[in-house]
Symmetry: C2
Amino acid sequence: MSDSEFQLIQAYFSEPEHTIRSDVILGIGDDCAIVSPRKQSDLVFSIDTLISGVHFPHNTPADAIAYKALAVNLSDLAAMGAEPAWFTLSLTLPASASQKQWLAEFSQALFRLAKQHNIKLIGGDTTHGPLSITIQVCGYVEHKTALRRSGAVVGDIIAVTGSLGAAAIGLDIALQQHHENYFCLSAAVKQSALNALNYPQARIAEGLKLNNIAHSALDLSDGLISDLGHILNASEVAAEIQLECLPLSAALSCMDKEQAWEKALTGGDDYELCFTLAKENWPEVVRQYPEFTAIGTIVAPQADQNQLLLLKENGRQHIIHSRGYDHFA
Amino acid sequence: MSDSEFQLIQAYFSEPEHTIRSDVILGIGDDCAIVSPRKQSDLVFSIDTLISGVHFPHNTPADAIAYKALAVNLSDLAAMGAEPAWFTLSLTLPASASQKQWLAEFSQALFRLAKQHNIKLIGGDTTHGPLSITIQVCGYVEHKTALRRSGAVVGDIIAVTGSLGAAAIGLDIALQQHHENYFCLSAAVKQSALNALNYPQARIAEGLKLNNIAHSALDLSDGLISDLGHILNASEVAAEIQLECLPLSAALSCMDKEQAWEKALTGGDDYELCFTLAKENWPEVVRQYPEFTAIGTIVAPQADQNQLLLLKENGRQHIIHSRGYDHFA
């Protein structure tokens, strides 16, 4: 660690009080952080890198970058039914005149979200180069209760938290693309689509609730079809999705039905959870979480293994292949 | 995770047998990895990013990049006296025609070193962009026995493992700089300097040995003066270094004495451990590890807090300031 790096960390990232955790023995400032994990729990780990121009538009504000970098990792914890504990941050920054203000905004947003989820920054690294942010999160799950992708069984309800498609519209708006499609959206809906893109809600509370009930789960980062495909592959099952059941974001209200379904099925960055559970447990879950939506059913795989997903709309069938969305029939 | 990312990970990073650990419940392939940590131990975490052109020359071979990215993190574990357990990898790769061969070399070197230290890759992320590698390592230490920077006390012996300065010469050679200084070095010594730069030895066994004896420790990444300064600051002490005791690498043999000392004091990337311990424990330690060298003593800080380090050579005094190496008097 160079002296300038040391000062940078001191100035912006050593807020000892942002989150107080008794399981942290030593935080930032030595070769390693030291924690004393809770006994009888398993630990889960996830690491994600966000790169400027790849994972977020270059014009994204610093606070949104910080928020999203932590939120997408928290979302991975949520998908396992885990309780957030600690995280590390590796920040690669271009030399820039506005670095101080950028760092102040970045670190404030990071600590605000960290505090909200009681997760503590325990270590980090700063380097110079093209802007990128790598965060590794660690969380607790009760021994052998973590949610996985591989547990879906035939007959399960497939459900999602929240609504789908808003972040994809937000990305179009941020990139100033496809304007003609969004003329009819109000300023408020456009802003909420941008917020869905920049400030995704990690479904931590929902994941914790689901980890004794759901058979499988993951978070929707690349789009429902692509991500649900991972559950189907890992569980060696297939699925039928009822298109008219998809919880469409208000940001899709301008589109005709098939366009909206396509965005909901293929749009990335929603960071909702997609999970499966036994049909008999669904009524109790939806009673507690009325914003959850059942969107289909796990079925036995077809002889033709390419057809893992059947999309249905009032009996009319749309075919989707496991390698991505092909077309509406 | 996109399908292409998924295939990349499958192809190069899911070697389940590279390291077998009973404390890993689920490795690569879900939203998070799951581990069941050993009870009664603390865990230590460190994260480091290496960027092409910043931390290694652009012409560095893939296997050296992989090796070094893991080794510098292992070195942080060594500095805490920790036993390696698991690591995660975030790999940012430029699109490149030679990617397959590059990835094969990279992953083989990574797993070879991982196996050597019984540390298991449990999760990762791959993205496209300028080449950079972030690794987070996690290791075990007995509860409350981790070595820190803050434990040095007045009267301690200051010692280092191995020799100093080879990696700095290796960097000069890799960058084809200062050729005139190295004419007298044999090809074998030049190669060993390059190896010191590209394949640093993480002092894991030495750290484990020291964690019941040393009062403080860290690994030498930025150079002895800069790094020892962190121990002095954290421990609120000062130090006297005997220049003629510095264990100079053979790669410094071409230089005059003062040039060689300067390289040994300020050259980065040695990844030896620097540690302090009670004088009475030194004979036993050096008996077991004859390659360790005592280089000085911890002393009470001077009234002038800028002078944390006194460099002495047979009574002749050289002054160094805490903010870096200034000059020989």
